[in-house]
Amino acid sequence: MQELAPPQREAVRRVLERLKGAPGPLIEVLHGVQEALGFIPAGAVPLIAQELNLSRAEVHGVITFYHHFRHAPAGTHTVQVCRAEACQSMGAEALLAHARVRLGIDVHETTPDGRFSLEPVYCLGNCACSPALMIDGELYGRVTANRFDALIAAQEPKR
């Protein structure tokens, strides 16, 4: 397991300091770490376990249970395409297939230039405006293949 770089270690410590007193704080802590670092590095697990008086297995178990937590950094932009029934009734499977081709990656992958990660999602609560997707927390409805391309093109290039 790779040691955490000092700035990362410091970020994890700050999150723990802020949240460790709350009742049942582990998931809150993991959200905090992911928000600060973009993912949850393996090296953060022993630190979190020690501070919260949990075993490393327990922390690892929680991280791997939830789809939202990442073990590796995401691309600059995260594109979540909804695969649930309402979106399927309006062509979500075809939209996802188009997204794969347009980005050149499969789901759970990141483009080689690090710009985009593609993730499936199971309902964004926009079911009357299907198919839906989310890019970096912004919701889009009635997304056609053309609109998908325009949305991708509109994302700022990597700095």
């Binding site: 809150e28 249970f65 964004l124």
Partner: protein, 514 residues
């Protein structure tokens, strides 16, 4: 005179360009020095008209939609600030038939008010239920909820009053009120719309629940896929604290109630109440064996109310108007109103709050206007990914708990997903099993293993491999999952599969191009 213009901040409206519309209106007005007050309201729930822009006039609020940023200059030039005609003019919002025919109790303020403005909430009847509750003994509050006939709107439909009474009867110092806002069912968005459009109604409902059972701490368990609702809830909770509606002495009553939001992390199973409690405690969302019920031993082992967003947001009006007022809507054991969500392949999708008992047919064709694609509607799935598929021959079914149960379906959280005649029901059956495999918490074998075997069996059927014997095997597997699973995920995943097999057997027989 300053004109008031409403542009929704609801996520569905934003997903169709409402932010750009609001921006364009601001720019246009500023450039011409037009005095204009821009209010960012929730949505009226007529999603096919979003972004729906409204203008306040002496005769009422006029609606224009769907508006794009490119339409804004034309709207100003046509005189939309006076409610003047325009191609997008829909007349007075309150007179649009889709809206006018509704019976909005829980959603009375959604789309009308500025969701983060406490003064606006108060001006529209907010916190009257709490004021009433503060005059009552805890048992009397619980009695009012019991008498109203309110049943859990999350899907399980358990009588809310009975749940509350169980918590009230526990002689324990620490109790909790938790709100299940992990709205993961496809085809549902009522919780999201309520939280984004009228968050104080939920906060007020939870405060009343706390007074009723003697709880001092509440949590809203919100799914991570709802960042917009997260922001609105934070603002509203802060405002409620600031004005003394939350905190150490609610409205000076000497009774404490603290409320916080906890974010989920993308696990459908956490909508199951015991799994949600595990997650709130910071653990893997694995379901608990019941008993003990959460009302007896819930969060951190203490008596806990677990209610859905809509159940809790319906509490204020029950207290304000009295149990008989609410109970008089609906019939039989389905009392009050239900926010129905019309979704998927439908021309006019959105939220329709009506008393229980509306025929499905009327929803699909009168409200919905048929499919979005213009093709015949072949099937609808009611109640999310664990709900049964209903064929056209049963579209006369009424939307209430009992009528749906009578045809082997369930109401769930009130979501209706429409499919046209291009749907392949064997593929939908495969998806039901796949979804269960992805989201299973892994605690019990029928769900964890059964769902994966289910995907494999449907795949063989799709590939034309011994379809008859594989269909028989699939039916057997469904029985095992139905009777052997710990919770509703494994136990109800068979519903969409079995209903697809029953009503659309031809889709499991035909050969498909490879």
């Amino acid at each position: 005179m300053t004109a008031t213009v409403y542009v929704p901040r609801d996520a569905a409206a934003l997903s169709l360009g409402a932010e750009e519309v609001a921006h364009a209106i601001g720019i246009y007005a500023a450039a011409r020095n037009l005095p204009l007050k821009l209010v960012r309201n929730g949505t009226r729930g007529m999603c096919w008209l979003e972004p729906l822009v409204e203008v306040e006039t002496p005769s009422g609020r006029h609606a224009y939609g769907p508006v794009s940023a490119a339409d804004v200059a034309g709207l100003f030039e046509a005189g939309f600030l006076r409610g003047a005609p325009h191609a997008l003019h829909r007349g007075l919002t309150a007179e649009i038939p889709y809206f006018k025919s509704q019976q909005r109790l829980t959603f009375a303020r959604v789309g009308v008010t500025d969701p983060t403005s406490l003064p606006d909430y108060l001006a529209h009847g907010g916190y009257r239920g709490l004021e009433r509750a503060l005059e009552l003994a805890p048992a009397a509050i619980v009695q009012a909820i019991t008498d109203s006939g309110l049943r859990g709107r999350g899907g399980a439909a358990f009588p809310t009053g009975i749940k509350w009474k169980t918590v009230l009867d526990q002689a324990v110092d620490q109790k909790y009120v938790t709100c299940n806002a992990d709205e993961g069912d496809s085809g549902t968005f009522a919780d999201r719309m309520l939280m984004e459009g009228d968050p104080f109604a939920l906060i007020e409902g939870m405060t009343i629940a706390a007074l009723a059972v003697g709880a001092t701490q509440g949590f809203i368990y919100l799914r991570a896929e709802y960042p917009h609702a997260h922001r609105v809830l934070h603002q509203a909770i802060a405002a409620a604290y600031h004005e003394g509606y939350l905190g150490e002495s609610v409205r000076g009553s000497g009774k404490r109630f603290d409320l916080g939001v906890r974010l989920g992390a993308g696990a459908y199973i956490c909508g199951e109440e015991t799994s949600m409690l595990e997650s709130l405690e910071g653990r893997r969302g694995e379901v608990r064996v019941r008993p003990p019920l959460p009302a007896v031993k819930g969060l951190f082992g203490r008596p806990t109310i677990v209610n859905n967003v809509i159940s809790l947001a319906s509490v204020p009006i029950i207290l304000e108007r009295g149990a008989p007022f609410y109970r008089d809507y609906g019939s039989g054991k389905s009392r009050g109103t239900l926010p129905i969500q019309l979704a998927g392949n439908i021309r006019r999708g959105g939220l329709i709050e009506r008393a229980f008992g509306l025929p499905l047919q009327e929803l699909l064709y009168d409200y919905g206007g048929g499919s979005a694609s213009g093709r015949p509607i072949r099937a609808v799935q009611v109640g999310g990914p664990l709900g049964a598929y209903i064929p056209a021959s049963q579209f006369d079914v009424r939307i209430d708990y009992e009528a749906l149960a009578d045809i082997g379906a369930l109401l769930g959280h009130g979501g209706i997903v429409v499919f046209d005649d291009t749907v392949d029901m064997a593929r939908m059956a495969r998806y039901a099993m796949e979804f269960c495999a992805i989201e299973s918490c892994g605690k019990c074998t029928p769900c964890r293993i059964g769902s994966t075997r289910g995907v494999e069996i449907v795949e063989r059927i799709l590939g034309g491999v011994e379809p008859a014997s594989n269909v028989a095997l699939l039916e057997e597997l469904c029985e095992t999952m139905l009777h052997g699973s710990l919770c509703g995920l494994g136990g109800m995943t068979p519903f969409p599969v079995q209903s697809a097999l029953k009503h659309f057997p031809e889709d499991f027989r035909r050969t498909r191009p490879q």
